[in-house]
Symmetry: D2
Subunit: 399 residues, 4 copies
């Protein structure tokens, strides 16, 4: 009953779609959604979908049948011991990331782990250390920071790298969702023991990774932070309207930071920003140009080229669907035909296969080492938020 939790998961399905399981990069077998459709990329090898593992073997088999896996089981150890399994995809809740990932790495399997890497920096360090040891034996670790492979995001990084943005002054990143209102029931995501944190690990993890990825810079300082729990108790599903449990995680964490180059930055994550379904957004304001991205319009990158003649300067909406011009676009459709959320995973799956086959991924793949740096930033934000360094207005002037 390894990753059973007492609390139901509010989004079991999306977790499932990302496949509780173990993959094997052989071309002869059926594929799971991401690896199944790798015809888009025609990578050096084809993944075959070996076994789905779940605490409930029946569920695992049902899932496997629906999604084209060869088999389903509850016996993780057996799967890890099977040399036919080359890659383990860890999509369990956060409190199991460390245990499952380290076990798989030590069994000599490549590991692709869901984000956030871990609940705590301590756990993350153990995972990083295991990944370092495995790396010496040629074993890879990967983290599903999937947004890096959104063509608009990868193109944003290319613009920064090519010098078109120039010195960066200001990074504004937010990840606003709105599913966490008072009516949302308890789940493992509201239990700090299982999830580590709330919006912070779930959402700030993504935007810290994105900000580091796109700017190519590390964050050196968290200047201030604010942590808030708006809904302290939540209904426990299946136990009537009045039985509630205590949420032990944040609903919202905001923090201000500095990058190594001196750029100022703000990060805001919340699950109670009504109307913001999945607003994973960043703005990067530089001397020569500025960038804006909003995942709800994931095919678009907004670009302000400050070097154009001033009369013609404006925010330009680049639809990042041009084969040849925009990363990953050649795998998909003609210009102006949008790709969707899943294509980022298809692209990452292709890059993972490339990496395992010793080819270069299109853009860098985050490994545990890299994700550990993101975890340090999250930890610093919590330290700042909990350091109680806030200034009360009652101390300022006379009311």
């Amino acid at each position: 009953m390894r990753w059973h939790t007492d609390l139901p998961d509010h989004d079991t399905k999306s977790e499932h779609l990302k496949a509780l399981g173990a993959l094997n990069p052989h071309p002869e077998r059926v594929h799971a959604p991401w690896f199944q459709t790798n015809g888009f990329f025609d990578p050096p090898r084809r993944a075959s979908m070996h076994t789905v593992v779940d605490v409930d073997a029946g569920e695992a088999r049902k899932f496997a049948a629906r999604w084209g896996w060869a088999r389903g089981t509850a016996d993780l150890e057996a799967v890890l011991a099977d040399d036919a399994v080359q890659l383990v995809d860890v999509v369990t809740p956060n409190h199991l990331h460390a245990e499952h990932s380290i076990a798989a790495l030590e069994a000599g399997r490549h590991v692709a782990c869901e984000k956030p890497l871990a609940r705590t920096l301590t756990e993350a360090r153990a995972m990083r250390d295991a990944a370092r040891r495995a790396r010496r034996k040629g074993i890879h670790s990967f983290v599903w920071f999937n947004y890096r492979r959104c063509p608009a995001v990868a193109f944003a990084r290319a613009l920064v790298e090519s010098g078109k943005v120039g010195r960066i002054y200001h990074v504004r990143a937010c990840y606003l969702q709105d599913w966490g209102g008072p009516d949302t029931p308890m789940s493992w995501r509201y239990d700090a023991k299982l999830a580590g944190s709330g919006a912070h690990g779930d959402l700030n993890a993504h935007i810290v990774d994105l900000a580091r990825f796109v700017t190519g810079e590390e964050i050196t300082e968290v200047a201030g932070a604010l942590e808030q729990r708006f809904v302290p108790r939540r209904r426990i599903p299946g136990r009537g309207r009045t039985t509630t449990g205590r949420s032990s995680v944040d609903d919202c964490v905001l923090f201000l930071a500095r990058f190594k180059s001196g750029a100022a930055a703000s990060f805001e994550a919340t699950r109670l920003a009504t109307g913001n379904l999945n607003r994973n957004r960043f703005e990067i304001n530089g001397e020569k140009g500025s960038l804006r991205f909003d995942f709800e319009r994931m095919n678009e990158l907004e670009w302000f080229d400050n070097t154009l003649p001033s009369a013609q300067r404006g925010w330009s909406t680049i639809t990042c669907t041009n084969a040849g011009d925009h990363p990953y676009a050649e795998a998909y459709w003609p210009p102006g035909h949008p790709i969707g959320y899943e294509n980022q995973f298809v692209s990452q799956a292709a890059d993972i296969i490339r990496a395992i086959a010793r080819r270069r991924p299109v853009v860098p793949l985050p490994d545990f080492e890299d994700a550990y740096q993101t975890q340090r930033v999250l930890e610093a934000a919590l330290a700042a938020a909990r350091g109680r360094t806030a200034v009360k207005l009652s101390e300022i002037g006379d009311g």
Copy 2:
């Protein structure tokens, strides 16, 4: 050499992706992209991908290997004669739609044909008649008017159907692309014998179908039309810079129409609208509300509810990703996680399987009967454009 053409196709790949081939709805086999990923819907049967047919057997086999078809061949007759094949997907150039579709229907296979149905109304009528005969034997015809299954479009139809739009005054539809400039070389798409028409059949076909689908009304009159060829000659690829061929199709067809209810309408299709990559767009202005859709932001429907208190009225951008609320959304991702172009085909594939399994598709599937009505509108537009009923300004006043 059945569907070989002298002119190379500028977008071979996208055609290929839609699979020159034949599908077989059995769950034991590997899947093609659309049918492969039907785990999203868990339909009553699973499609297995039986055979890809191409004029070049080697190409067919290569394609089959990449995309998970069981086999590839150049022998269409054999495939049509094989009772294991239940559904034939016709994705050949326009001039072969009639021949291939009728042959497959007569062989007792369900047929899913690419749009436009045919080059001419005469051809379309023959296809419709064959589909009528087949229908009596329980054989289905389908047309890949894929945009109907975009959740935002299907939701637009639902709003109209539920009476929330009220009497429709004005329909504005356009399909603007920009790949057809003077540098674009000849291909079968510029040869009227192969393609039938240019932007008209390629793009107006889609928006006429969409307008009929969303309003639920037929067009009764084309009030005026304009047909234009901006680029009369185009370079023939592979024959140097100076060898050109004559384009025999329109680059742009605009027309004005009336719906049965008296609604006014405009339709505009062009391949030379610079900056409009794939702007398949409609606006429907009704008494109680208005709708706007733009495929480049396919997850969004703009809705103006004229029955709200006037202070609060505005164009509302509905992100059509709510399971339960928006058609097809339950198959995919959590709110605010966009789907892409391909998901429309995945959804249509699922509906085709449902229809074959005698279940109701989520929204009506266009058959040849239905596509024939669209073809009549296209024909009427050409009649109006070529009737030379235009009024010269030189006849009006003194210059």
Copy 3:
């Protein structure tokens, strides 16, 4: 009772604001809104606001007091005979434009007349002829096609003129309003004898002028047109709910046209496009670049530069508020501080004063000659719409 009408005007106020009256460009007197604020431009002379003329002398005086005119009267003849009056601003309903303008021109006064120039082409020709005669005596005529002086529009014209758009393929213009639903009562605007036409003269007049202004090209042919009256009878205000009158004007006129260069064009005007408050919009698609403008966001011009490296091409939203870069912007605010509807009139007033003082206006001022060309296009559209050249679907194929 010269310009008294039996039907009340639904928007008396906006008409009034544009001042039923007569202006005198002297700096010593109080100013009316447009001329009052010409400190923005510091033009060579200052306008003084001499007399407001209305059928009701009391109303004229009240209006004058509120808006800073020196006096109000009902005696138009006396005003026209007063040599202190140099410019007459004709803002009466359409059926009086010809009479008032011609009288003022013949009295040797400069005339600024509201659009549309006239109800009919015949009337427009008489006005043009009067303006031609006056011109020989140094008297100017002007038409309040105010949108030309929107900085974004004037900048669009500059981009076309400078060759940055290249060959124009397609012009899409529409002017969509939504105030003309079934609940809107009768007014002079619904009486063909007074207004000439409905949306056609009111709205298509503007967008035909804009299209000609921005492209710098004349329209040579109307290829087809559609005219529609959705609401045949309207309540007469003040006579209970059931007394209705017949609307004798169109609610909506759409037409398709060709420019001299072969560019295709669509024009759509309606007063029943729910949700479109004042959508005066054009799109110009050219070989080297494309433009889009929407008056509801009047400070912005969307520009697609097709000559940029393809990876960086996108629709760029240029906020046309840069002094030096964008026409008229230097008169107003720092970048990003929007101007509003009235500033176009302030700018036109300044240009009118410049023209009278023999200075060059910032962009060309439309005179009666110019407005007559627009009227010809409107007439051609009606001829096409009423020529009954439409193709019924019942003639096409079998239903």
Copy 4:
């Protein structure tokens, strides 16, 4: 030479337009831009524009002539002593606000002072105290927090007040400009002695006022802050390329705060956000609905009504131009005809006149008391930023 400064002002003009001067609310005289056009509102009294005061009497007279003031002078004392002067409009640089405002209040004149109220909290307190004393004698103080009177902003406040937003979870406010890059020369705005602060007082002052105004709540705590100067030295104009001066103000201040109700908030002000010309923007996320405003599209308010049926929820763009529905809209144009930056001042001028005439302004006018609360928040943010409570990443984990 009272408010002469050694450094030229980079935006003299916009300051001038807001009129260095003194106004007198009498209806018989000529008007300045804001008060001139009060025919829009037809307020109980009319302002007459009495005297412009500037350090340079010639400039004052020239300005007066252009903008319709009766006279210009350098003698402030005489003006303050003139009982014909009822209202003094203080538009001098920040370091003179306290001196001029207090002098005018003590002379028994109503005062309208530009924002920020003062350079420091100490100065602000002295001004507040002077205003309190004056208030007892019926003398008013006003602060030009002009954005409150933007119809979309005032309507946002109305939505919050009416309970439609519900409990507020999160306020995100930013004011991003981009004119402060390295090429921008020194001016009084970069001298802390004259300006007090940089982006902080100039821009955060506005958005703190807006956030307090729209939410109707006070800020109780600043949780963290970040202050940054990107450009330490700037060229001194007129002294060659190489003579630079030290900027002593911030270029960017970000801070996180809590409202009394527990709402989390972020405020970001910068002058180096390339591409953001004047992005005065806020987002308010509440339980029942959310609001977004961006001054660059000042006529629009985005509204997400979380109480609509879930299928129809979306961000609705309300164009706030409906007379009767949207504050101040009845004074201006028909729906969809935008107003501009200046109309906010016209509206505030009308409200100031109403307040002086003991009528209610349309929405509350900020006085010195109110602006002092905003100043306290600014002070708390600086205290937090300078408290060095930041967490270095070097303290977190091992690098």
